[in-house]
Symmetry: C2
Subunit: 292 residues, 2 copies
């Protein structure tokens, strides 16, 4: 069994990005600039945005953090998006989700210029991804593809089961895994209503669990030699931890891991790759790789 080390892989990729950025800057090019908009003081969002800013530093990017209280109106936030769209120095930007209830997340996402949408959430990027055109691919599925690629895990023609059908992970993951130029796999998407979920998992060569239920995937659902990718990051109360919780994956790791050819841990698997892929998207934005 090989443990897939997302932390080390992410560090390698960030070093690669930094090297490329320094080359670009040395050649007289522009240093990529990521802006992040944070509304309110949600603990999780604070952590994510802080880590994104730190990752920008590690990659040699310029970063800007724009903060608003959660009393900001939708119109004010949309105005901020408009300014970022028009700011020629900003190559890409994100609006950290979730937003307060009085603001339509979908409206904000659609207001972002798709050419700066490094989260890959704008319908144009979602649609281009679905039909195989160059675009920003959202960070979590992109990070999983990158892990599979860097560990030389064969996916073409294999049976891949995706557990979960969220817009952010399950659906785009399935779309990427089925496409010839990405996973080229036989892809099955299972969810809460699936009657054949157990049989699907047992037949799978690759399982990508993104269902958000701690320990959901148990050893009796996994074929020996399978590759297991755990996207779950549920906060489970744990008084022994300094923060009072620990992160739990969707996989019963201790019992599943011995069966696997490859498996990602939680934490340290998919998680570190996610921010790293945001950095790759920002680099692509700086280089105008997908759009002029």
């Amino acid at each position: 069994m090989t443990l897939i080390d997302g932390k080390a892989t992410a560090a390698t990729i960030k070093a690669e990005i930094k090297a490329e950025v320094e080359q670009i800057v040395a050649a007289g090019g522009k240093r990529p600039h990521l802006a992040a908009v944070l509304v309110g003081h949600d603990g999780g969002s604070e952590t994510y945005v802080r880590n994104k800013v730190l990752a920008c530093e590690a990659c040699g990017f310029r970063s800007s953090l724009i903060r608003y209280e959660d009393t900001i109106t939708e119109a004010e936030l949309l105005d901020c998006v408009k300014q970022l769209n028009e700011d020629a120095d900003v190559d890409g930007f994100i609006v950290q989700l979730p937003l307060p209830k009085h603001i339509s997340e979908q409206k904000v996402i659609e207001a972002i210029d798709y050419r700066k949408d490094v989260d890959g959430f704008h319908p144009i990027n979602v649609g281009r991804m679905a039909i195989g055109l160059p675009c920003y691919i959202s960070a979590t599925p992109k990070g999983i593809l990158e892990l599979l690629r860097r560990y030389n895990i064969e996916t073409s023609g294999k049976k891949c089961v995706v557990l979960g059908r969220s817009n952010i992970v399950g659906k785009p993951m399935a779309q990427l895994m089925m496409q010839k130029q990405y996973g080229d796999a036989t892809v099955t998407v299972c969810h809460s209503r699936s009657q054949s979920l157990r049989e699907e998992c047992l037949a799978a060569d690759i399982i990508i669990a993104a269902i958000g239920r701690p320990g959901f995937l148990t050893a009796d659902m996994v074929k020996p030699g399978a590759v297991v990718i755990d996207v779950g990051t549920t906060r489970v109360p744990d008084a022994t931890r300094p923060k009072g919780f620990r992160l739990s994956g969707d996989v019963d790791f201790d019992n599943v891991a011995p069966l696997c050819s490859y498996i990602t841990p939680v934490p340290g698997g998919v998680g570190p790759m996610t921010i790293c892929m945001l950095m790759l998207n920002t680099l692509a934005a700086g280089k105008h790789e997908y759009y002029q």
Copy 2:
């Protein structure tokens, strides 16, 4: 075994559309107007466009046919698209594919105002469909959903295998079948590289064949009681037919049909529904159902 009658279902829907259009017009509303752009003289395209114009008449729509020789330049065609985008009387329009080699189909599709894109091919509509937002859904997958719905075929939680991963049928079909508000099924997409294609089909409650290989799905791949939807329409030379060819589906119909609970014939199954769904999309365009 129940034969799914696409021709009769399409006729029913067109009558429903016509009734609604006459109500709209009687109430002082605008008669929906579909424009079709046809480049060159491809036999298949001529037939499709003629049938679309006839369907418009059956539905009480206004229709316009704009013809160009296949010597038209890309710039000229893009200019035509721009004019149609700006023509307030045109509610929706299509550019019949395929286009001559010297014109980028993707560029033309992306030039169409997504609010008039009744084919549902623009990345914005593809993306909105993928994340479950209101939008134009492309005609063939939409027609299949409608057949399943009108025949009261249970899909929620069932295992649905989609054969083929084309941008026009396989991929959107899979995306719709997996979504809670549409199929809510456990969806597997198989294709030319799938190692487990036969096992997937044998376990399927619903098989949607869109692989473009005549007679590909044989009786030994189908579970008794399965629902089989045949999207194939390959022209097979046949000297006994007036046109010198017949349409062949992807299913070995004579041997598969006796096993099925429901099956679509070719022709007369999915085919007639496709143009009918274009009419439904045009009605939605006229009513500004998805976009202002």
